[in-house]
Amino acid sequence: MRATCWMGKTDVRVQNVPDPKILNQHDIIVRVTATAICGSDLHLYGGFMPTMESGDILGHEFMGEVVDTGRNVKKVKKGDRVVVPFPIACGACFSCQRRMYSLCENSNPNAGIAEAMLGHSISGVFGYSHMLGGFAGGQAEYVRVPFADVGPLVIPEGVTDEQALFLSDILPTGYMGAEMCDIEPGDTVAVWGAGPVGIFAMKSAYLLGAERVIAIDRFPYRLQLAAEKVGAVPINYEESDVAEVLKDMTGGQGPDKCIDAVGLEAHTHGVSYAYDRMKQAVMAETDRPIVLREAIRACRNGGTVSVIGVYGGFIDKFPMGSVMNRSLTIKAGQCHVHRYMQPLLERIQKGEIDPTMVITHRMNLDQAAEGYRMFSDKLDNCEKVVLRPN
C-alpha cells in the first residue's frame, strides 16, 4: 500500500510499504477514505519529536471503511464507515473506566520510555513516535486500529467524510479546551492560536455559552477565519500589545477564561537527551512559550486557563506567583476524544457546527509532502489539509 512515511527532518515521502495485518484480536483494518495533517504532525515534520524512526508512517486523523476484523471485535463489522480517535484506548483500565481515554494504561507498548520522560505514561497514539507506542499512522491506504469496540465511531448516512473526519482529533480537542473553562453566562473567553484547534475552541466556547470570544494570532487570514466563521474578535499580536488590548476590552478585569491552543514546539525524550533538550531550549526563545505566560497573566482574578496546545517537557519562568495569588485554575490534557465523538456528531447533524469550515486544501495522498510543506510554511493561506488516497 501507499503510506506517508517520515524519513527525517522536513522529509516525508509517500512510499510503498506492506499492508497492515491484525496483530491483536480486538483489531480492525480500515481502508482510509480521508485523512488530515494535524498541527501536531508539524512537530514531527520539523524533527522536534524524539523517538521517531526513519520509515514511521504518519497520521492520527483518519477515517474509512472497515475491511477486516479480529476475532474478538463485536460492535463494528466489515463495511462500516468509521472515524477513529487519535488516542488508542483499551476501555478496561482504571483511566478508561473513568473516561480519561488519552491516559489509557494498556495501549502503549513503549510506556517505559514515556514514564522516563513524563513520570507516568499516557496512551498510545497513531503515527506519533515510538515513545507513544510505535503505531503506524493513518496517512496511508490502510491502517490497523486496535480496540475497535472502544474507539471507532460508526458514521451514519447523511454525514459526509469531511464532516466526520475531524471528530478524530481537532474538533473534540477544541471542544474540550472550551469545556475545561467551565464557561458561565457573560464570560469573555480569549483563545491564543487560530489554527484549526483554536477555531474549534472558539466555536465551542460560543456553543457553551460564552458572551464574547477573542482570537489572538499573527496571520491575518487565520484571524479573518475566526472573525467571519466564528464571530470572534481578532487581535493580531504583531500589531497590538495583547495584554493591554485584553485589559481594555474587559474594563481592566481580564478575560474570564483563557485557552492556550498554541503550546510549545516540541515533545522531548529519547536517547539523545542533550540534542533534543537543546532544540527545545532554543525553541523557548521563539514566541510560542510566551503564550502560556501571557494567558496566565492576562486571565481575570479567579479565572481559568485551559491548555490544549501541546507541551513536551519543561518550561522556564512559569508565573506561579500569578497563579497562586490570583486564585487561578489551570486545566490541561490531551483530548479524551472518545467522550466527545457521539455528542459532537449530533451537533454536526443538527448543523450547530460545520467542521469543514477549516479546510483550505484538498489533495491526493500522493501529494502529502507538498501538503506538509504548505501547512508548515503557512503557504497559500493554508489552514487545514485533507488527503485522500484515491
Partner: protein, 316 residues
Amino acid sequence: MTATAPASLQTGQRSQGKQTQRSTLAKGLGWFSIGLGVAEVITPGVVSKLIGVKNDAKTRKVLRGYGMRELAAGFGILTHSRPSGWVWSRVAGDVVDLASLATAMRTPANDKSRLAAATVAVAGITALDVVCGQRLSSQTPTESGTSSTQDNNTKVIRSIIVNSSPEAAYSFWHNFENLPQFMTYLESVKSTDTIRSHWVAKGPLGITTEWDAEVVRDEPNRLIAWKSLEGAPLDLAGSVQFEPSPGGRGTVIRVHMDFAAEGGALKSMAGKILGTDLGMRIQHDLRNFKQILELGEVTQSDASIHSGMHPAQPAA
C-alpha cells in the same frame, strides 16, 4: 544473595531516609546542569561575560558545546534510576571546566578577577559532585528502586495495580508456565514437580540461559516466592505479593527480585543478560501481566512486535 523478598523490603525501608538525601543532592545537581546548560547554549555571550572570558565567536562555540554536555549530564541524572555514572560524568566535565578556566587565565584580554571567582565556584561544585558520586556509588537497596552493590547483587522492587481480584492474579501467576506470556526475557518455564520448575531465558544474539528454580513460600492469593537452585548459572530469588488495592481498584502486584551475578564468566554473562535495566524490564513485564488480566492479551504495535528498533510500519 540469600535474602528472601520480605527481608529485602525491610532493608529497603530502613535505608530509605539516607537514600532520599543522596538522590536529592543528585537531583539538585541535575537541575543545576540543565540550568547552566540552557544558559550556555542560548546565551553564551552573557555567560562568557559573567565568568570574565572574552566574548568572541570561538568562546561562544566552546560554551555552547559545554552547554550540551551539561544538558546531557542533567538529563542523565534526572531520568536514570542509577544516576551515579552521570554524576561522575559531571566530575569529568568539572575537570575540563577548571582546565579551560586555567587556560583563560593566561590570556591577557580576559578579566582575571571574574575568572578567579568562576574558578572558586567551579571548584566548589566539583567537590559537591565528587561527594555525590561517592555516595551514590556506595548506595544500598531502596524500596521501589534498583540498586547494585559492589558484590554485583541487584535488588529490584516494582509494583502495578491490576483491575482484577487477588485470586485471579495469584492463580495466573502461580501457573509458572504462564510466565513467558508476560516476562519478555523468558523463553519457557516448565514445571518439573509441584515446587520445582525449569526456566529458559533468551538473551541478546540468541544466547539462552537455563536454570532450575523452586518455590520457597506459597501463601494462596497472597504471596509466591521462588529461588534458583544450586548449579544455576545465576543466583536469583523472586517473590510476588498480591494485595487488595485501596479504593477497590483491584489488586496491587508487587515484585521483588534479587539476583547475584558474581562468580565465573558464565554467571557474569547471565547477569548481563538479566541485569541491564532489570527494573525497567520488570515494570514492562508487570504492564504485560496487567494487559493479559484486563484484556486477555498483550497490546502490540507495528514496532513492538519486533525486537529492537523498527519503523512503525507493518511487517512484510
